[in-house]
Each structure stands twice: as structure tokens, then as C-alpha cells.
């Protein structure tokens, strides 16, 4: 499941669990800077979101229908 450990000092890391993801593309709608559902049906995403993109990243993780997005490290907002 997705989570963000607040106290961690490492850079935020984003990952998508391939076993869970069903390619709905809702993450792209929430965070177009980070996710892209390709024409080939594959999901591409940025593994290391910048500090300014964490709000978007958390929004995508909250909305993902399969709860497939994991977000670790970094600091919130």
C-alpha cells in the first residue's frame, strides 16, 4: 500500500505495483507531470518526483482505484 513516511530524509520515491495497476490512468489525470498512460497501454512515471510535485503525487496515490501507487520519503507539501 502507498504511504509517505514523513520523517524520512531521503528523496521522495514513487513506485507503482504492476501486479495491482489496471491502467485506469486516473494517476495521469491527478498528476500529469508524473504519470503517463502511453498509447501502447503502458504506464510511465517519474520515480523521483521533485519536492514541488509531492502534492500531485499524493493526490494520485489517494485516487488510484487499485491503490497501486506507493510514495515514500520526502516531506509533505
Amino acid at each position: 500500500m502507498s504511504r509517505l513516511r514523513r520523517k524520512s530524509r531521503t528523496r521522495a520515491r514513487l513506485s507503482v505495483d504492476n501486479e495491482r495497476c489496471e491502467l485506469f490512468g486516473i494517476c495521469e489525470w491527478e498528476a500529469p507531470a508524473l504519470f503517463e498512460l502511453g498509447r501502447d497501454g503502458r504506464l510511465r512515471y517519474r520515480r523521483q518526483p521533485a519536492a514541488g510535485e509531492l502534492t500531485q503525487a499524493a493526490a494520485a496515490a489517494r485516487c488510484c482505484p487499485m491503490q497501486a501507487i506507493e510514495l515514500r520519503g520526502g516531506d509533505d507539501e
Binding site: S2, R3, L4, E22, W29, L37, R62, P65, L71
Partner: protein
């Protein structure tokens, strides 16, 4: 914000969790109490009719996490029994009373019961909670007979797909002409073909004439004269808001909790509502208050309700989302945007893309396994149905002034 302030959230589902998270994000540093009658922390309810009833995921895999420190006091396994808005207290079982400065109501809905159904038979079940999914699995394990589901909406169809994926026979029983008929004839046709292709049985335009229950056999006699012997019967005929505990609170609970456009409960200064149980006018469409029972709405309304509560009733801004929802049946992704329920008519916009039209205006879109098309059409709906402009400050500038003021009255 003074340390003595307390916000109570009733309902520990996704909306309760996301409201708590947003309150902390916005800097609320008072006491946060979350009351939930299920004994579990908030979890991913959509998997109840999918992975959890199939047994392909464990309940613990479905726990939701917060993206900020909640520092909340959880009162799980505890049911709020009454609300006194004048005294600002929530009553808990026994004589316990919990005072609040701000209250978030997020108690969701409960499955509707079918008159005449043998609801005390352990083989008659509903699907809302993890415990419900586990109870259905127990009933299935006790007999190799087919499963029956009454109701052919999203949960009924998802359950039928789950049964076939387990290799179990299943019969869907429904009033309508076809399953998911409210999403228009094209979607109904696609889902009928999908279910039939996977050999789920459909008994449409029918209902139950008799329930037959002996120790060994359990079954249904349908109005189409079919007799179905069953291992379990799942009732999936819609839901009703969980607002019993609000009787006598003075809030309008005729269908969920009636709210202002900002999600403040109508007439209340310190009560906001989120998730399935909130009935509010979405000014993007019109001024008619409605409820929306979908996951993304629970997430978004919870954040908006938290923002409203902290901004205070006078400064709060209307919640005007473009609703979006999804379901998955086998590997088909079914997606919705807008408010299809408002439509008088449907049009075919593209292959597997149904448009919903009211007075010549597009008010919703539903796609059958076309996620890219859904993204395009969601953007198109946003363009055609813009959120009305509001003057007050945006959410991020929301202050905690509202709560501070309440605490000092």
C-alpha cells in the same frame, strides 16, 4: 488555533481518513478524534466485491495510509449513537459524551434490505465491509451450490464476475431489462455479453417469488418460474445513508445529510459532511442537492469538507467537482464522469463511449475499457461544464480562523 480545540470525525472510512489528513495538512493542531463502528482502520472498500470476496487479497493489504502525520485518537469498534448540535456533543454507547468544536460526519451508507428476504439466515448476505466479504466466503465454502446475487448494478455485476473468476456458478437476478441499464443501452449490452461470455446466468425482469430454506437446501423461486438452489444469496439492491444516529439532531436527514454548497450541514455552523452520505448542491450542474456514492467523491469531498470547516461557514467555498468513478469487471475498465443520472437521453460519442444528455447538454460520459478516451472526455466535460467562479480565497489559503472563532463563542 488553541490547543484546547477538538474536531470529532464520525465514520472511519475513506472520507473520515481523508478529512483528518486534510485538517492536519492545513495546520489544524488541536485534538482530532475519529470514531468508527467497524473494528478496523480505514480500508479500500471497493475491493470488498472484488479481491476480498475472491480471496486474492488479504484485508490487511487493503488498509489505507495517510500521507501526513494524523496524530489522531482512534475510537474504533465504537458507534456514535446520537448527536446534540445545540450542546455540541456526540453520544457514544453507555453514557459517554464527546464534546466538539467542529464535527465531520462521514458515516457513509449501508446496504438496502429487501423486504421478505430471510435476513437472519447466514446464507443471506450483503457486501459492504471486510466482515461481509469474509461471511460470503464462509457461506461459499460450506456448499458447492451456485451463488445468487439480487441486483444488477455495479456491485452485483462485480460480485458475479468475482464468482466466475473463482469458478463458481452464479445467477444475477434483477428488475431491469439488462444489467447496468442506467448507464445506457450500449454499456448494458456490453456488460450482458461480457457476463454471458463468462457463463454467468442472467435472470432479468424478474424477482423472487418465494424463499425456500431447509437445513440442507436453500433456494429461490423466481417470478420467471426458475428455481435456483443456492449456496448463498447476496443482496446488492442499493444502499441507504447511515444517518439513524442523527435522528433528533435537527439536521435534515431525509436522504443523507442535507448540506449547503460548501458541505456545511444545512443550518449548522460547526458541522460538515463528506462521502456517500453528503447531499449537497453541486453548483457546476444546478442547485439540486444530490449524493454521489463513489470513491473519488469520498476522497475529494472529504478534503473539501475539511477546508470548509477550517475556513468557517462564511468564508467556505462551494464544492463543485466533476464526479468521476470506475469499476472493473474481469479485465474491463468501466469509467464514468459527470452525472449520468441527470440525463434524459444517451448518445454514442465514439466506439464504447456513451454520452449522457440533458436538455441538449452533455452532462456525463461512460466508457467501456477506453481509459484514454475517458481522459479526453473528462477534459471535454470540464470545458463544457465549467465550475462557477467563486470569489473567496482558494483552499490553500484557508486559515483555521473558523474553528478558533467557534471555540471562543
Amino acid at each position: 488555533m488553541s490547543d484546547g480545540d477538538r474536531i470529532v470525525i464520525v465514520g472511519a472510512g475513506v472520507a473520515g481518513l481523508r478529512a483528518a489528513e486534510r485538517l492536519r495538512e492545513l495546520g489544524f493542531d488541536g485534538e482530532l478524534v475519529i470514531i468508527g463502528d467497524e473494528a478496523r482502520k480505514p480500508y479500500h472498500r471497493p475491493s470488498v466485491s472484488k479481491q476480498l470476496v475472491m480471496g486474492t487479497a488479504r484485508p490487511s493489504d487493503m488498509t489505507l495510509h495517510a500521507y501526513t502525520d494524523l496524530d489522531a485518537r482512534w475510537r474504533l469498534g465504537t458507534r456514535a449513537t446520537h448527536l446534540d448540535t445545540a450542546e455540541r456533543v456526540v453520544h457514544l454507547p453507555g453514557v459517554e459524551q464527546l464534546w466538539y468544536d467542529g464535527l465531520v460526519i462521514a458515516t457513509g451508507v449501508v446496504p438496502r434490505h429487501l423486504p421478505g428476504a430471510m435476513r437472519h439466515d447466514p446464507r443471506v448476505r450483503v457486501l459492504r465491509t471486510v466482515d461481509d466479504a469474509l461471511a460470503v466466503r464462509r457461506a461459499l465454502a460450506a456448499s458447492t451450490r451456485p451463488a445468487v446475487v439480487i441486483g444488477t448494478g455495479l456491485i452485483g455485476c462485480e460480485f458475479a464476475a468475482s464468482m466466475r473468476q473463482l469458478g463458481r456458478d452464479v445467477t444475477l437476478v434483477g428488475h431491469a431489462r439488462a444489467p447496468l441499464y442506467r448507464f445506457g443501452p450500449a454499456i448494458a449490452d456490453s456488460v450482458s455479453r461480457l457476463l454471458a461470455g463468462h457463463r454467468a446466468k442472467l435472470a432479468m425482469k424478474s424477482e423472487i417469488r418465494h424463499w425456500i430454506s431447509t437445513k440442507e437446501t436453500f433456494g429461490l423461486h423466481l417470478t420467471n418460474n426458475q428455481l435456483v438452489v443456492a449456496s448463498c444469496v447476496v443482496l446488492a439492491i442499493g444502499s441507504v445513508p447511515a444517518v439513524d444516529w442523527l435522528r433528533g439532531s435537527g439536521l435534515d436527514i431525509s436522504d443523507g445529510v442535507l448540506c449547503e454548497p460548501t458541505l456545511f450541514a444545512e443550518g449548522a455552523d460547526d458541522v460538515v459532511v463528506a462521502g456517500d452520505t453528503a447531499r449537497w448542491p453541486n453548483l457546476r450542474f444546478d442547485e439540486v442537492p444530490r449524493r454521489v456514492e463513489h470513491w473519488l467523491n469520498a476522497v475529494e469531498s472529504a478534503r473539501a469538507a475539511a477546508e470548509s470547516l477550517l475556513a468557517g461557514r462564511a468564508a467556505a467555498t462551494p464544492f463543485t467537482p466533476l464526479p468521476r468513478a470506475w469499476s472493473s469487471l474481469y479485465d474491463v475498465r468501466l469509467q464514468m464522469a459527470g452525472l449520468p443520472a441527470l440525463a434524459e437521453d444517451t448518445v454514442q460519442l465514439d466506439r464504447d463511449v456513451t454520452g449522457f444528455v440533458r436538455a441538449g447538454e452533455l452532462v456525463g460520459v461512460c466508457t467501456w475499457d477506453r481509459p484514454h478516451a475517458m481522459m479526453r472526455w473528462t477534459a471535454e466535460l470540464e470545458r463544457r461544464l465549467p465550475a462557477p467562479a467563486t470569489t473567496p480565497a482558494p483552499a490553500h489559503a484557508a486559515s483555521t480562523a473558523g474553528i478558533t472563532r467557534l471555540a471562543t463563542v
